[in-house]
Amino acid sequence: MLLTLTVNGREVSRNVEPRTLLVEFLRDGLGLTGTHIGCDTTQCGACTVHLAGRAVKSCTVLAAQAGGAEVTTIEGLSGDGLHPMQQAFIDHHGLQCGFCTPGMIMACVALAHEDPDMTEAQARERLVGNICRCTGYNGIVAALMDGAKRMAGDV
């Protein structure tokens, strides 16, 4: 089928098999390998991207479901320099190996948009769908809280 959607602000059209997953389309079709495949079972969140502005796990969305919609990946998060949430991850050591990081940051940006004033307990609860195996959660939570403030322009 011919699939047309907007990825990181650019309209793209490709012929795809209907069974193509969104994450496969992004990585193999468009070469946007910043979106990672971790568990492939909707658990780990390494493949998190924004679909129509909402965080979704792109290993469990068909590329076809995103047809006509806007998708943002880690590559398109910021046009120029680092996004405030990316900078917050650096400043708070919110990563070690980096595998989960693109998904973490996409999830965090969406969470920050929805509720910039979340408490730490809420931040921890809302990150339940993104798994880090380097045990970097303290840094990640700190980055989320601070990144949310930076995005809201409070810092």
Binding site: P18, R19, G45, T60, L62, A110, R126
Partner: protein, 265 residues
């Protein structure tokens, strides 16, 4: 995944045309359950009929004492909806407790209720509130809808369009979640209408069910202490790698007590 055709009809009638004429069609709502099964090649379909563009399946409205929610309304929408939070907060809390934010952004109420996973959350609310399940063909009372493990009264050519929830005087939901998956090990939704109480139990058995003894006790006294005297027969319950049936039977009165505490909060 086995290959399939993809269709995105704009109306219910177009969707039904494909559903009734295709060899092995399957409705696609949020895909958060179906796509996982298809990846494992547990199911194969000729065409997936994506319901996302059908306006008639969307929307939330309150009419008098009835809250109506469209089948394609996502868990995240129910969790955040101002009117649901105000009029039936137990349902918003239930939706907020499903999976994680990203899954809640895709997963739909209709998909969950059509799937009827014994460990799913929504079926408990639908049954305890005595909701009505609307389809393209008819209106099904919740008491006639849940037939068994992953089994419902829906026919092959039937699309769940919306669910109408009668607004109770008080309601509360509590689930003991599996620590890793978040799915229900044992859960209870209690709903008070006048001086009667309906109690639906999920997670513990092969299908959500109402419990007459609990309903009797909680109708007589709508108070957390009323759950203390309840006993459940483990033989009715599920024994699996997540929990034994004795454990489920023993924990259930405590789950009901907490659901009541929430209803009265």
């Amino acid at each position: 995944m086995y290959s399939f055709e993809y269709a995105r009809p704009n109306t219910l009638n177009e969707a039904l045309d494909i559903l009734c004429s295709d060899v092995e069609p399957r409705l696609l709502a949020g895909g958060q359950t179906l796509l996982a099964a298809m990846k494992h090649r547990l199911t194969a379909h000729s065409t997936l009929i994506d319901l996302q563009a059908i306006d008639a399946l969307r929307g939330v409205s309150v009419d008098g004492a009835i809250l109506r929610i469209g089948a394609m309304v996502r868990h995240a929408e129910v969790a955040a909806h101002i009117e649901i939070r105000g009029r039936l907060p137990a349902l918003a809390v239930l939706a907020e407790g499903i999976a994680d934010p990203s899954v809640r952004n895709m997963g739909t109420m209709g998909g969950s209720v059509a799937n009827n996973d014994p460990a799913a959350d929504y079926p408990a609310a639908v049954l305890a509130l005595g909701a009505t399940i609307h389809t393209n063909l008819r209106d099904i009372p919740a008491d006639d809808y849940f037939l068994g493990m992953f089994a419902t009264a829906l026919a092959r050519d039937e699309i769940l369009t919306a669910i109408s929830f009668p607004l109770p005087d008080a309601a509360g939901y509590f689930k003991l979640p599996h620590p890793a998956s978040g799915y229900v090990l044992a859960g209870a939704f209690v709903a008070r209408f006048g001086d009667t109480t309906r109690v639906a139990i999920n997670g513990a058995g092969p299908c959500v069910f109402r419990d007459a003894a609990a309903e009797g006790a909680l109708s007589a006294r709508f108070h957390p202490d009323a759950a203390a005297g309840l006993h459940f027969d483990p033989e009715d319950f599920t024994e699996d790698l997540h929990a034994g049936k004795d454990y489920r039977a023993q924990v259930l009165p405590h789950v009901i007590r907490r659901a009541l505490t929430r209803a009265l909060a």
